[in-house]
Symmetry: C2
Subunit: 363 residues, 2 copies
């Protein structure tokens, strides 16, 4: 199955970019779908390629390998979108910070804790480091079937800042919160540098072939309301404005994971075309409160994709029934986990593609 | 300051139990307050006593020491409520599971992964193990000033089940979710055993002197909507019903941390008198959607209590202004962290006690 070529899937896919239609606010007969972390360790062909490649970062910066990895899930499952294989922490690295990935430990950065360190960041000089990413997008744009939309992405400023300040993953976000709460004007300089770098990075991704971009705010859910507005909503809006000055029509998906009831304010004020829902968001609430303001994307718990079977199918049907009557992109509520059986992904693809209850929209 | 006796604070406190009035739905001129984990490592007198006591569990099961630890923050800060010093994992231990606390590692339990292990649990035999907890409550009831309400507590079934199945803390809840998603009928037996034990434990706490009980559902926020309803909302409602059959009037506070927009369904259906809000809950939403259904309690980010100063004061004022116009208990959005300077807690107490904008209610 993994030896199937991309062009073999073209017939199945048709020629329409369903993702672009959904993000434009259309209700479709069946929603488009893709899965966060659809390229990754759950696929044997990915694990094989990883063994040949060097480190995870070498893979991100190698256009031939990154293109291959991005295409792997499309060959198997014919998703409606391919998302660039890269990492949200390439941006701080391109701004001059050290970055390493240690197996089983996650990312390690030199912690940034002082205003002077912010002054040394180079948000205007990121393209030298990130040029291979743009090359990957150009190759993908040339290789993907017409119906498959190419998604670029970046981390949202708050989430990237948490890794930069804490020096990696965190359970309590003690240092970054202390800084944001105690010295908001100083912390704002870090966020401003990230806004500039991220907007320029996304603009270059679009120039290179990305047709949609997603901003991942993985740690949006650790902030109280006012700080969420200041450090998550406002920076995303600023990025969207800066990006739109270069590419006025590119659709943007925002994913403020864990925002809870704060999703409502985000959908209203962040300026995005679609909001990615984590798996805790109640569906009727999403339909009534969020979907009138933006397309929604989500939100199967990836653990249902591990379990599979009737339990997974019932969850998929529940999500489709609740949200496919409005502008909707089927996805998970967070990334695929490595122990996911690929056959469960195949079943998911089959169910979503076979869904025909969305609406009376022309198909 | 820590040598001040409880009776020295009696004048400051008056004779009214403000917490009971707020939980009965009254709007008060100034809200009552207490703080989750108000007895703990941020207090030098607690750290001193811990060095003399043996393990954390020995402290929980020693009525003299547990009473002393519970009273320590009341002496310093004259909160309106004292919460029993104990741990949510005493219940699985009392049901027959092994439990240890390793310094810096958190709790360690023998993982429970099979239906046969559930059959061996002894929900009806918990009182032998838990008798010292009831003795602590009797001593506290005798020692506390009249105005200070005594709060008992337990973990909610879902949260306790996560520790029992995973064998301790977890980042991804892989095992407990797999069980709940794949074999909900089997998993329901574990939840049912926890409902029985927890309701009986709380009923015995009330008999021993607890005037209010709180159910901590620390990991409510990791479940998708339907599972949240089944494993968090319904079990809490079942506990409240079973408890009310013995003690019809005891107020119950539910704390479904991380429930996001799911807080609305919880407030409507869990049968609790008050809902504890984590720090991410937007205040206007809490006021408009939750407060008409239940008293609310919360929700300062404990990291503001570490930072202190003008930033903390502005957050406290913002919360008071938004919620004190309805039935409200001032608290944190989760427990005090060890690095909290006690003087910041003193300042918080001063601000809440000095607040007079709540309403025209008789004081």
């Amino acid at each position: 199955m993994n030896t199937q070529s991309i062009s073999d899937r073209a017939g199945e896919l048709g020629t329409e970019k369903l993702l672009l239609r959904a993000l434009a606010g259309e209700r479709l007969q069946r929603p488009p779908f893709w899965l966060m972390r659809q390229a990754g360790r759950y696929l044997p062909e990915y694990r094989e390629l990883r063994q040949q490649a060097g480190s995870f970062l070498e893979l991100c910066y190698d256009p031939a390998l990154a293109t291959e990895v991005t295409l792997q899930p499309i060959r198997r499952f014919a998703m409606d979108a391919a998302i660039l294989f890269a990492d949200i922490l390439l941006v701080p690295q391109a701004m001059g910070r050290t970055l390493a990935f240690r197996e089983g430990e996650g990312p390690v950065l030199e912690p940034l804790r002082h205003r002077e360190d912010i002054a040394r960041l180079r948000p205007g000089a990121i393209h030298d480091t990130l040029a291979p990413v743009y090359e990957t997008l150009r190759r993908l744009q040339a290789e993907l079937p017409q119906a498959v939309t190419l998604i670029g992405f970046a981390g949202a400023p708050w989430t990237v800042a948490t890794y930069m300040v804490e020096g990696g993953s965190s359970r309590d976000f003690a240092n970054v919160k202390r800084w944001a709460f105690e010295d908001p004007d100083g912390f704002a300089r870090l966020i401003d540098a990230l806004i500039e770098a991220t907007a320029d990075y996304l603009a270059a991704q679009v120039t290179a072939g990305a047709e949609v971009v997603q901003l991942f705010d993985t740690w949006a859910g650790v902030l109280p309301e006012r700080d969420f507005e200041r450090w998550c909503v406002a920076p995303v809006r600023a990025i969207v404005e800066r990006l739109r000055a270069v590419h006025p029509d590119v659709p943007v998906i925002g994913f403020p994971r864990g925002a809870g009831a704060g999703y409502a304010g985000y959908a209203a004020a962040a300026g995005v075309d679609a909001v990615g829902l984590d798996w805790t968001v109640p569906l009727a609430w999403a339909r009534d409160v969020l979907q009138p303001q933006a397309a929604v994307q989500g939100n199967l718990d990836p653990r249902y994709l591990v379990v599979g079977g009737a339990a997974m199918e019932a969850e998929i049907e529940r999500i489709l029934a609740a949200l496919a009557g409005g502008p909707f992109v089927f996805n998970l509520g967070h990334g695929i986990v490595p122990e996911t059986p690929p056959e469960n992904v195949a079943r998911l693809a089959e169910l979503v593609r076979g869904f025909a209850g969305g609406d009376d929209a022309p198909s």
